[in-house]
């Protein structure tokens, strides 16, 4: 009897076999939750403004700084505007800035990094010295310089964030291209008659896209924070435009007076969608860049 129990309890391979499904289920749970949250975010941002015919700018000084209630689930701000509505509109602007800036930065970074890595030689050296030069300037300072050349608005912020954030992507993509370039499968492609262009487009670029996409998604929250920093300095978005950054900045004063809701809710609106996006990005990377399970288990 005892023998059977031991046999059932710790049979070699049991742990190994059960590890697979367990990993898969947590992974799909993570993916499902992330996907649901991202979908919710997108729906809120796309559907709420046209469906809810309420003015997010409506000032009601009699109802200023009210804590969360049924009438105002997120409370009201210092001039009595509904914070739930402001948060949704703010998320809209911040997401637009974040996604546009991250996409632009990634496209520029990937193009530059892939060119440097694939062409090599003096082109590579020249490009990477340029990258080093731009990196040596503090990027917030450079961003301020760029945004100051334009009138306040959404697009100057996008350009400013994009032009200061393509450097890391360029480095990542170049390193990845260099490592892929020496793989035998590139030799095999070349031997099969592939031109330089074909090798780059068919084998190198798809190889670096997961990394670039991941960098892009992870850059979205960073870009959102940059937007808020620039807005705080009075160079980004004008204060009447609700963005998560401007909302948190205007709420600073009330936080010290004990009113937590004008800071907490916009804060959650930054954290939750960005974490969900990162979760999806991770799952996507695993899918596009499949490794054998045995390699992952090592």
């Amino acid at each position: 009897m005892a023998d059977t129990a031991v046999e059932n309890g710790i049979r070699p391979g049991t742990v190994w076999r059960s590890a697979g499904p367990a990993r898969r289920s947590t992974r799909t749970l993570r993916v499902r939750v992330s996907a649901a949250l991202v979908a919710l975010t997108v729906l809120a941002v796309v559907l709420v403004p046209p469906l809810v015919q309420l003015d997010q700018q409506a000032v009601d000084l009699a109802a200023k700084l009210q804590p969360p209630s049924w009438a105002h689930p997120f409370g009201t701000d210092d001039v009595g505007r509904d914070l739930l509505l402001r948060c949704v509109y703010g998320l809209r602007v911040s997401l637009l800035v974040g996604v546009a800036a991250a996409l632009t930065a990634t496209v520029v970074g990937t193009a530059v990094g892939a060119t440097a890595g694939a062409v090599g030689g003096w082109v590579d050296r020249g490009i990477m010295r340029l990258v080093d030069t731009v990196s040596s300037v503090p990027h917030l300072l450079l961003g301020i310089f760029i945004v100051a050349m334009f009138r306040p608005g959404v697009w100057p912020v996008v350009v400013s964030v994009a032009l200061t954030h393509w450097l890391s992507t360029a480095r990542i993509v170049r390193a990845e291209v260099l490592s892929l370039r020496s793989r035998p499968y590139i030799d095999a492609a070349v031997s099969g008659g592939a031109s330089r262009w074909r090798v780059a487009v068919r084998h190198l670029l798809p190889g670096v896209l997961p990394q670039a996409a991941l960098a892009a998604v992870l850059m979205v929250p960073h870009a959102m924070w940059h937007e808020s920093a620039l807005s705080f300095l009075g160079l980004g978005l004008p204060t009447h435009t609700a963005s998560l950054g401007t909302l948190i900045q205007t709420a600073r004063g009330s936080l010290l007076a004990g009113q937590w809701w004008p800071t907490l809710f916009p804060g959650l609106f930054i954290i939750v969608p960005t974490l969900a996006l990162a979760g999806l990005a991770g799952a996507w990377r695993e899918r596009i860049n499949p490794r054998r399970r045995s390699e992952l288990m090592l």
Partner: protein, 226 residues
């Protein structure tokens, strides 16, 4: 006729991996190059397959020196060689299904029309089932992947085959199967073979002649038939 004359090659001009190596392959001849690991035989194989520009020395294809190297030799010359590497896992693009892997050289050279027929034909030759053809490299074993890599090397009907430790990662039965495929291809097309390895027994039985690394890298070119 493939002649390598006084080839010096490597990845750093000041520290070449291969020094003054010479080797001649007669048309249709199978030559086995034997050497310990790390001696530079893989680099010489890459040079012979026109995938790596030698620092000095000449490579003659049917008596004509190969010119217009950039990093690699011109496409028309490269495609005369089919190459199989040691590690199938690294020599297959992880994103391509096996059928695309085999068809890739046909796509790269603009011969898409031949793809269905040629892939089906080669899959049978190397022993891959249609089910396996639809899978990605991480879904098949090393042996199955190496079969696909051999099919890819044969798809353009090369006049020369270069096998760099092709069977080092494989079990005995897969090794025998792949050697048989290569020999069958050579028997029907008269292609030459340069195979590189450290398995003396295998190369002795497989090739018309084997050459030890020391003989290739000697001061004097190795006379044919030694």
């Amino acid at each position: 006729m493939l002649e390598l004359r006084a080839i010096t090659a490597g990845y750093d001009r000041h520290a070449p991996v291969v020094r003054n190596a010479s080797l001649t392959l007669a048309p249709g001849e199978a030559v086995g190059l034997l050497g310990p690991s790390g001696c530079g035989k893989s680099t010489l194989a890459r040079v012979a397959a026109l995938l790596h520009r030698p620092d000095s020395g000449t490579l003659l294809l049917d008596g004509v020196p190969v010119r217009h190297w950039r990093h690699r030799a011109p496409r028309e010359l490269r495609t005369a060689f089919g190459v199989v590497f040691q590690q199938p896992r690294l020599s297959a693009d992880p994103r391509l299904r096996l059928t695309d892997l085999i068809a890739e050289p046909l796509r790269a050279t603009g011969r898409r029309a031949e793809i269905p027929q040629r892939v089906a034909e080669l899959a049978t030759t190397v022993g891959l089932t249609p089910d396996l053809l639809g899978r990605q490299p991480h879904e098949v074993s090393d042996g199955q992947l190496q079969r696909a890599c051999l099919a890819r090397a044969l798809v353009l009907r090369p006049r020369w085959l270069v096998c760099d430790e092709m069977t080092a990662m494989l079990d005995a039965s897969t090794t025998a199967a792949l050697v048989a495929v290569v020999e069958e291809y050579r028997a029907t097309t008269g292609a030459g073979l340069l195979t590189v390895g450290h398995d003396r027994t295998l190369l002795h039985r497989w090739c018309d002649r084997t050459v030890p690394w020391e003989a290739v890298c000697g001061e004097e070119p190795v006379p044919a038939g030694s």
